[in-house]
């Protein structure tokens, strides 16, 4: 694990080094790919939570915060200064006075208030509501009990006061495109969905549904000298093999690699140098339903963790395009405990635990899975003989990914295999196991433990970052011990980047989400 981290860090430095060594060149076209399906959902980014859509949205829109990959945390983007008061519950944003929408109008506090009220419109169910709910009075708007969010107050055009319901870092809530700031006057028009207007470094030019989005440089972008490129084209390319041909043919600048291509690119001396990888904040796991009798016993859940040779699966099946999971929080989490060791492969120990739990002959359970190559049926198929070795029989129930999401939300399973966001905010990630979190929200295993709640509550209350991280590590270790899931792996996102494209950020929240104003192409690019 340590070696892998060193490799990743080394690559990061190498990339950063080479980018710094050259002066960013103005001009050219950045040709990115959107690899997760064959269409963008909508040009109204508030309506969609798909990673695919945020790829173009990072160029077109801006939120109150942005993710700083170098710092590993969200940083204010539309605010020059944030003052915290009221015991951490009141945030006062001194907004930028140089941020212009693509229609030439200056952004003010009214636009932010209008945007957040829109997101909380309960008749529309915008997915970003989950984040805005943290503002006092937002839930009332969502439920139709109020017209405006009471916790948002305009002090003047460029000062906004935000009252929160909990003491959290709002950066983790307001950095994704789901909370992009819209221009209040334009955003309300029907035409907005055909021609979106944002605050980002590139403005909208064209959308060919199912094929591409084209954006061009916004000259009034608030960061001096940026963006570097004239144009960004995001092409939809859901098929990995087609992406591979296009990348080798120099038609695209970035391509996300699957396990098979990862191996092929590593073996090819011409392509090896194009690989960029990062541990993303997604944990892959098998969730166990405590309402199913055997899984209500901690020893059984632990036995399953001991019975599965996770390293073997990651190595042989996932082609090392993943990092072994120790507990819930991923490698790039600020609260990740580097000293923690994963459950070792120990069938004898598993058998012993099963005997102690009253299942010496094992038992049978139904495992619901999708066909996903990295966390679906192929993995389940590999695990079945390992569990069989300790007497546990598996009955596979295969469903589509959309159905699996529904199964997981409703708790209609004995066990399921899934990939869940486990960051970047460690507190929010662990809160999914808090008793107060309803199952459909993200407490999919319906985990309830007062001792765990106590640790997490304490972490939420403390202002001392070091102490908070210590408590979060304790909570993470608690989960390891309780083993509500089989801790499988953390996703390793791998992207091939053409040598002429510079400024790629190793974003652990999603590698394809790039702050495009930092990217530039040198004169060896075919689209210079």
């Amino acid at each position: 694990m340590f070696r892998m981290s060193v490799i990743v860090a080394g690559m990061a430095l190498a990339l950063a080094g080479s980018a710094e060594a050259q002066t960013p060149r103005k001009g050219g076209t950045i040709r990115m790919t959107a690899p997760y399906g064959s269409s963008f959902t909508s040009l109204d980014i508030h309506t969609t939570q798909r990673a695919q859509d945020e790829i173009y949205a990072k160029a077109l829109h801006r939120s109150l915060y942005t993710w700083d990959s170098a710092e590993g945390k969200p940083v204010p983007e539309l605010a020059k200064e944030v003052v915290v008061s009221g015991g951490g519950l009141v945030q006062t944003f001194k907004l930028r006075d140089d941020a212009y929408f693509h229609n030439g109008r200056k952004m003010t506090a009214d636009d932010i208030i209008w945007t957040f009220n829109r997101i909380m419109d309960g008749t529309k169910a915008y997915p970003g509501a989950r984040y805005v709910r943290i503002i006092e009075g937002a839930a009332a708007v969502e439920k139709g009990q109020a017209k405006e969010i009471s916790g948002l107050k305009k002090i003047d055009d460029f000062t906004l006061e935000m009252k929160l319901t909990e003491k959290v870092d709002p950066g983790f809530y307001f950095f994704t495109a789901l909370t992009s700031i819209y221009p209040a006057d334009e955003g309300a028009k029907d035409s907005f969905i055909q021609h979106p207007i944002g605050l980002g470094p590139f403005k909208f030019v064209e959308h060919v549904p199912g094929s591409r989005i084209v954006l061009e440089r916004w000259d009034k972008f608030y960061k001096p000298g940026k963006p570097y490129a004239d144009k960004v084209v995001v092409s939809i390319m859901g098929e990995a093999a087609a992406r591979d041909v296009a990348f080798r043919n120099k038609e695209i600048d970035t391509s996300v690699l699957g396990p098979a291509q990862y191996v092929a690119y590593q073996a090819d001396p011409n392509l090896k140098g194009t690989i960029v990888e990062v541990a993303e904040v997604f944990t892959r796991y098998m969730g166990m339903n405590p309402a199913f009798k055997p899984f209500s016993d901690k020893r059984v859940r632990q036995a399953i963790n001991y019975a599965i040779d996770s390293d073997l699966i990651i190595n042989k099946l996932v082609k090392n395009k993943a990092y072994r999971a120790t507990s819930w929080l991923p490698l790039t989490s600020p609260a990740y405990d580097k000293t923690m060791k994963p459950y070792p492969y120990d069938p004898a120990k598993a058998k012993q635990l099963l005997t102690e739990a009253g299942y010496p002959q094992g038992f049978e359970f139904e495992w619901t899975t999708s066909q996903n190559e990295s966390w679906g049926l192929p993995i389940v198929s590999a695990v079945i003989p390992m569990l069989d070795k300790v007497g546990i029989k598996v009955k596979v129930k295969q469903v589509e990914t959309a159905v699996l999401a529904e199964v997981v939300r409703t708790g209609d399973y004995q066990a399921f295999i899934y990939s869940q966001q486990s960051g970047p905010d460690p507190l929010a990630a662990l809160k999914c196991f808090h008793s107060s979190t309803p199952q459909p929200a993200c407490n999919y295993m319906n985990f309830r433990n007062p001792d765990f709640d106590k640790i997490l509550d304490e972490a939420g209350q403390t202002d001392d970052t070091a102490k908070r991280n210590q408590l979060l590590q304790k909570a993470n270790a608690f989960l390891y011990e309780e083993a509500p899931v089989w801790f499988f792996n953390y996703n390793k996102a791998v992207m091939a980047v053409q040598p002429w494209l510079h400024g790629i950020q190793q974003n652990p929240t999603e590698l394809t989400h790039q702050n495009t104003e930092e990217l530039w192409v040198d004169d060896t690019s075919p689209a210079k």
Binding site: A125, G238, V245, V407, R409, P440
Partner: protein, 307 residues
Amino acid sequence: MLSFLIRRLLQTIPTVLAVVLLVFVLFSVVPGSIASTISDDVDPQVELRLKQQLGLNDPIYVRFGNYIGKLAIGDFGTSFRTREPVTSMIAKRAWPTLQLIFTAMAFSVLLGVPLGFVAALRPGGLVDSAAMIVAVTGLSIAKFWLGLVIMYVFALKLGWLPSFGYGDGGLKHLLLPALTLGVSPMALFARTTRAAVLEIMTADFVRTARSKGMSETRVVKWHVMRNALVIILTTVGLQFGGLMGQAVVVEKLFSWPGIGSLLVDSVLQRDIPAVQGSILVVVLAFLAINLLVDLLYGVIDPRIRYA
């Protein structure tokens, strides 16, 4: 002719209704809800309100009735996913799909029919054997694999054409997906034409024409070709429907922005109004083309009357 057209149009109504009913019922019983389409963290109260707004809590027969009522005025509903009218989503995708299918069809007819003809004129000869090897191979190759091979050869190795995308909608970007889509019908047309021509060549009226001293060229042109065209036209009509289905794979592979890729996305994301609308448009296109083929029969063979 007009009464035939009206009668045929009326006959399509039960077919369309049956398809609408089937798709509606199918997507009403599959697992998954609007909540999983929109977000994985929807407030239960909001979800309930949304279902009420969309009429999803009504009994299935009420929902079906409402759906049919809207369809009658050309309203395919609003997409769960994009919040756009489904008609406008389909309208944006219709032209690229038509471009793709018509180009693939033109390629397959222009190559497949002459190939079958030449093969049938010298049965068992070198051209016949070669043509049939091409035909069987074309029919057997999976579209996805063929598309990748075509991409590899024409884009990566030869550098003649772009490997993906829509570009400005011109031929440069259209050729490779159309070629991929057209190989299989081309093979089928070659085989069908060969079989039809071989059969007609031994027919009594052909023998009579030859015995009257008509030149072989005139026999082929006036008797064989005309009669074979009826069979070929039937196959072409049926293949249009097939191509609309097969376009799904090709559109996805080449990032071509057609109805096929819209349908796949909508199915995967449980966007029921968009699925229903897309399927309905494909079915209507299929019926329209077959109606056109029926009308063309009379032009090719004046003996066919629209009684």
